[in-house]
């Protein structure tokens, strides 16, 4: 069913990304982040002062940078003014040729010196600025990343990955750009503007006035075009975002598109979006494109008028020829920084808006600090007791109600229930991914709130539902469970998880590099690696959350032996969809709507003929 353009735009508009400052050539470009809110910085002052903290370390270097900018700008202006002298002096008829030549040698030598100082200082300050910006950005990234490590799991539930990523990519990049390029060029622009203006005043008051008259016209005209082009630009970005979103979705889902013969509809919807973008992009490109020629040629007009009026002044003896030549070149220098500055204001604003978002992340509440009297729990045994635990992710909705259970070392406790019954939540409470609101959880009799969070988590090995691996070798991924494990121990763990045989079949065995999403492994193989990673840890408590859901049942049977060894002497919590996986648990808890509705061993529960029996024999009943 073909959707209308409006519907498409609405549905895909969330893919729109705000503008990203243009990188200098050679720089990285085209990286993608998630969607993010755009706009102007709200609290500019505070943001700037926090940014300043990052470069405050280089206070003296910064002062030096500004001094160097002053010097290099002064050199440029001074050199320009000297040229006036050159032309004036060499046309003077009252001096001899030799005198004039000597003068030329002197002044050009001086000019050369000034040029060298100017170029030298501008090179020096760019170099310093790169040092400052790179170090500041490095620190900013490190701080942001460190902050990320302290954020509660909840934060990542409510903020999509792309969103968080774009803090690191777009936002930090824009700040980087601002610090190392915009800041210096804006400052030197201002210096030059003022310097040129003074020189112009000195050279000729009346001509200066003519030029000044053009300034408001410049700013007005420039502002007008900038506003128009800004409007079209954001329309273009929205259209681009929508079409990119559409492409991403339909190309990623291309197989489904084919299976449903949906190609024609996709093409038609794509054409709608594409033609809409064609229009908007044209406006944006056009208005963006005329900014340069109009501003540039306005300054040419002012240049023409200045030249003409200057000529008249010369003719009538108010100005010398050299003065006119110099003034004309000053006039050009004057319009340049104005054009440049107006462009950079937007870069600065978007960088500050980015900085604000970065700092917002830094200000997010981290996981609550450990209790003052929290203990390390050196030799944890694994007696886990839930006493009347009630929990909800938010105030309104309770996910778990009055959960009580007692698990002893060596026991295997299984949770069974339909999707959304709260099975995963139970296990996420033990290691304090989320904090409970009512009731208590104790381990070896100690309230988990009284155990240092790191110590607590060290003692609980988890195999999670989503099989996440890290870019690196197979060896490194398994060793993630215990960093000081030897190679032999890693291989031992892999054997326990029945992963050894497929690892050996990989191109480089244990040294095969796997990509982060483990794309080069099957889902089942990734699960086996996850199990091996948990197996290598010596934690007394083990949580298996759908750990073998993608492993076929024959392979699962093969691991059973290793798993039994793994679970021996540990307290194990198992969540499984497949009932065959949990059958041999010491206790099976059936969860429904956040409550334990049945508990007991497999046999006992079958005996009860309750929900578990229904689940287990569901297929039989419908025979």
């Amino acid at each position: 069913m073909k959707r209308s353009l409006e519907d498409l735009q609405k549905q895909y508009s969330k893919f729109a990304r705000p503008e990203k400052a243009q990188r200098g050539f050679g720089g990285p470009g085209g990286r993608r982040g998630g969607p993010r809110p755009k706009g102007k910085p709200k609290n500019m002052k505070a943001t700037i002062s926090r940014l300043m903290d990052y470069i405050a370390k280089y206070k003296y270097l910064l002062i030096l940078v500004f001094v160097l900018i002053l010097i290099s700008s002064a050199c440029q202006i001074f050199a320009a003014s000297m040229l006036r002298e050159v032309i004036n002096e060499i046309v003077k008829e009252d001096k001899t040729v030799a005198e004039r030549l000597q003068y030329l040698v002197q002044i050009l030598t001086l000019l050369g010196g000034i040029y060298l100082v100017g170029v030298g200082s501008s090179y020096a300050y760019s170099k310093m600025m790169i040092k400052i910006s790179q170090s500041a950005i490095e620190k900013l990234r490190n701080d942001l990343f460190a902050k990320l490590q302290t954020l509660p799991t909840k934060y990542f539930d409510s903020n999509p990955t792309g969103e968080v990523m774009s803090r690191f990519t777009n936002d930090v990049d824009n700040i980087d750009m601002m610090i190392h390029q915009t800041l210096t060029s804006a400052f030197s622009g201002i210096v030059q503007l003022i310097g040129t203006f003074i020189l112009m005043l000195v050279t000729n008051l009346w001509l200066t006035l003519i030029t000044v008259v053009f300034v408001p016209i410049f700013t007005l005209g420039g502002g007008l075009i900038a506003k128009k082009s800004g409007k079209y630009y954001s329309q273009q970005q929205a259209a681009l975002g929508a079409i990119n979103g559409y492409i991403e979705e339909t190309v990623n889902g291309a197989k489904v598109v084919k299976v449903f013969n949906h190609e024609e509809t996709c093409n038609e919807e794509f054409d709608l979006l594409n033609n809409d973008m064609r229009k908007k992009m044209f406006s944006a490109q056009f208005f963006g494109g005329i900014m340069g020629p109009i501003m540039h040629n306005m300054s040419q007009i002012s240049y023409g008028i200045t030249a003409g009026v200057g000529g008249l002044l010369c003719l009538n003896g108010f100005l010398d020829v050299g003065g006119l030549a110099v003034f004309c070149s000053l006039c050009r220098n004057f319009s340049m920084p104005i054009n440049m500055f107006s462009q950079q204001v937007s870069t600065i604003f978007s960088a500050l808006a980015g900085a604000e978002r970065v700092f917002a992340v830094m200000d997010t509440d981290p996981e609550a600090p450990d209790d003052e009297n929290a203990v390390e729990m050196e030799n944890m045994q694994g007696h886990v007791i839930f006493d009347n635990v009630t929990f909800g992710y938010n105030e309104e909705k309770v996910v778990l109600k009055n959960i009580s259970l007692y698990a002893k070392p060596g026991q295997k406790i299984a949770f069974v229930g339909s999707t959304g019954a709260g099975k995963t939540t139970v296990t996420n409470l033990i290691n304090r991914f989320y904090d409970i609101r009512e009731g208590t959880i104790t381990i070896d009799g100690v309230d988990i709130f009284k155990i240092k969070r790191q110590a607590l988590r060290k003692n609980i090995a988890m195999v999670l539902q989503d099989t996440h691996l890290f870019t690196g070798t197979v060896m490194e991924n398994i060793r993630y469970g215990r960093l000081d494990a030897t190679d032999e121990e890693v291989i031992e763990a892999a054997k326990t998880a029945s992963a050894h045989s497929f690892i050996m079949r990989l191109s480089d065995g244990y040294n095969t590099v796997i990509s982060g999403d483990g794309a080069n492994l099957s889902q089942g193989q990734r699960q086996l690696l996850n199990i091996a990673r948990a197996a290598i840890s010596k934690a007394p408590i083990l949580v298996l959350d759908e750990a073998t859901s993608s492993v076929d049942t024959r392979t699962e049977r093969h691991i059973e032996h290793g798993m039994a060894r793994l679970m021996k002497d540990r307290t194990t919590f198992v969540i499984a969809h497949r009932l065959s996986t949990v059958r041999n648990a010491d206790a099976i808890l059936v969860l429904e709507d956040g409550c334990i509705i049945e508990r007991g061993s497999h046999e006992e529960l079958l005996e009860q003929k309750g929900r578990y029996y229904e689940l287990y024999t569901g297929k039989k009943e419908l025979d």
Binding site: G24, V256, F260, N297, C314, R457, G516
Partner: protein, 591 residues
């Protein structure tokens, strides 16, 4: 080149007029200094006037009149230049935007024609990049090219000619400076490009570290690896800083170097030109104009270098897009012998079918598979992961074509049906299923555009999806996020099944598509198949034996080959593998 001309042709006037407009600007740019020079020379200094100036004198008078006339000329020139510039922007935008839009549409349509094998060859991620980044890259380049291609080189040549006309001897300075400057620019760029790409590599590494840490946050936390990750990040971050430092340190030489060359040129021109002025062989006005030309020449030179840089990048994009456009579609119904045929019965036969994903690979994914399925029956397929189950059923709707042997539906080779009719008759619920942005209803309608509301609800009921959909506040109008992330895995699978049911297919294939649905619900879905899809042929691929044990016929597969065919009871009797799977799932106590 012919490939690209197709996109230029409809907008040829814009492609030609754009650069022409820019030439107006170039001419103006070159004329303006000359006009300024004439104010100084003939308006103020009263030098020996050439014929043209004398002609102007005769109209406007000498002195004031002449100056005002030239001034007006300068203003008019500037206005003309502005018009030229705006025109250039207009045509440039017109040409580049339309070029890119047409190209994007063509690439997209080409991708829509791709077979699964074509898609696999490129990977979806790279296709997306080609459609988005690469096309935009080319658009930007064309826009720049149209506006700069004639401008910078034109300016370079124009200013050079003017400079030579003005003073050929002084122009010799350029003969020394220009090659030197080009040499330095190229040297810096050549050295810095690899540095920048190494920096890009470091950025990618850092980004993937961040990405992994965000998605794996629970793993990091549960293994208490914050410090470890922080260290790793700091190291990568430090590497990036150093790489960036190195690359930029080289890059910042460029601007001072160019300035220095300009400065040297200025001094040289002033020295030699100054001498000439003193000798009286050159006028002061000419000297001023000459300096302006020299500046224009050198900055155009810089621009031309940039243009080349950008060109190499756009060329890379063009190449990547070209690969998509040139890709040979390996599945089409061009040679189908009976395009009007539709699937009526749903009888299936595999005849000695073999298949490899890559024609060069040794290992066969399917090895001489043969069996038949009667219409209106249910076939179960079971076997360990990677044994070729999915591949086997993919051959039915021609998602892939068999290398050897034949796949027949209703006694006719699948290659003889039109793709549309074939796929209309065969519905597949894929293992890796996808829902799209839009409402739930929009998504279900993929199965049948013209379905009534009742039909949609009915299909959802059969797929056991109606209950949870109705529990949403907006029911069937609930918006799904990209990839359907706001419904659970099991819910998603049920919606996908409902979508396929709406097609009312003669053949329905479920590829492990109830794995996230609990057993009770799954049983109900299967029950619905028996009633609602009574007249369809059903193929169920599953891990769970309970999913297939009621099928009329079960195919057991291992390593691409069929190792057993029969009913549950028969296989339990005589197929070792089936027994193994069975006993791995139900122990004796399960009766």
């Amino acid at each position: 080149m012919k490939k690209w001309y197709k996109y230029i042709k409809p907008y040829l006037p814009a492609f030609i007029l754009g650069p022409l407009c820019m030439i107006v600007e170039v001419i103006g740019e070159v004329v303006l200094p000359k006009l300024l020079g004439s104010i100084i020379d003939y308006g103020v200094s009263g030098k020996d006037a050439p014929e043209i100036v004398k002609f102007l004198y005769s109209i406007f008078g000498t002195g004031n009149g002449f100056i005002v006339a030239v001034m007006t000329g300068m203003i008019l020139t500037a206005v003309l230049m502005m018009i030229g510039g705006v025109g250039g922007a207009w045509f440039g935008a017109k040409a580049s935007v339309n070029f890119a839009s047409d190209l994007r549409a063509d690439v997209y349509k080409k991708v829509q024609q791709f077979s699964f094998a074509n898609i696999d060859r490129f990977s979806t991620g790279s296709l997306v990049t080609r459609l988005t980044n690469d096309v935009t890259q080319m658009q930007n380049f064309i826009n720049m090219l149209l506006r700069m291609a004639l401008r910078s080189p034109g300016m370079l040549i124009g200013a050079l000619i003017m400079a030579i006309v003005l003073n050929p001897t002084l122009t010799l300075i350029l003969a020394v400076i220009m090659p030197l400057m080009i040499f330095v620019i190229f040297l810096v760029l050549r050295k810095s490009l690899p540095l920048f790409s190494s920096m890009q590599g470091k950025i990618d590494t850092l980004n993937s570290t961040i990405q992994e840490n965000i998605t794996n946050v629970r793993v990091v936390k549960s293994f208490v690896r914050q410090d470890f990750e922080q260290k790793k990040f700091s190291r990568d971050n430090g590497n990036l800083k150093n790489a960036g430092y190195e690359a930029m340190n080289l890059m910042i030489i460029l601007s001072p170097a160019v300035t220095l060359f300009m400065n040297i040129t200025t001094i040289a021109v002033y020295w030699f030109g100054g001498n000439m002025v003193i000798d009286g062989t050159m006028s002061p006005g000419d000297l001023t104009a000459f300096i302006t030309y020299i500046t224009q020449i050198l900055s155009s030179l810089m621009m031309v270098t940039m243009l080349f840089m950008n060109m190499s990048r756009a060329m890379a994009s063009a190449k990547r897009i070209g690969q998509v456009l040139d890709e040979k579609i390996d599945i089409s119904d061009e040679f189908a012998s009976d395009k009007d045929a539709k699937i009526e019965q749903g009888a299936i036969e595999f005849k000695n079918v073999s298949f490899r994903y890559y024609k060069t690979s040794q290992e066969k994914v399917l090895d001489s598979v043969s069996f038949t399925v009667e219409p209106e029956t249910t076939l179960g397929i079971i076997g360990s992961t990677g044994c070729g189950k999915t591949t086997l059923v993919s051959l039915l709707p021609r998602l892939y074509d068999a290398d050897e042997g034949k796949v027949l539906i209703d006694g006719k080779d699948v290659r003889d049906y039109s793709l549309k009719n074939l796929r209309d008759g065969v519905a597949v619920v894929l293992q890796k299923n996808v829902l799209f942005s839009g409402t739930i209803e929009d998504n279900l309608r993929w199965g049948n555009e013209n379905a009534t509301e009742e039909e949609i609800i009915k299909a959802a009921q059969f797929a056991q999806a109606d209950k949870f959909v109705s529990s949403f506040p907006e029911k069937y109008q609930t918006q799904l996020d990209q990839g359907g992330t706001n419904v659970s895995g099991g819910q998603k699978q049920r919606l996908c099944i409902a979508r396929a049911l709406l097609k009312k297919p003669k053949i329905l294939i479920l590829d492990d598509s109830t794995s996230a649905v609990d057993t009770a619900t799954e049983a109900q879905i299967r029950l619905a198949f028996e009633t609602e899809l009574k007249h369809s042929t059903k193929i169920i691929i599953a891990q769970r034996i309970s999913s297939v044990m009621n099928a009329d016929k079960i195919v057991v597969m291992d390593n691409g080959a069929v190792t057993g065919i029969g009913t549950h009871a028969e296989l339990l009797e005589n197929n070792k593998e089936y027994q193994e799977i069975y006993y791995s799932q139900m122990e004796k106590e399960a009766k």
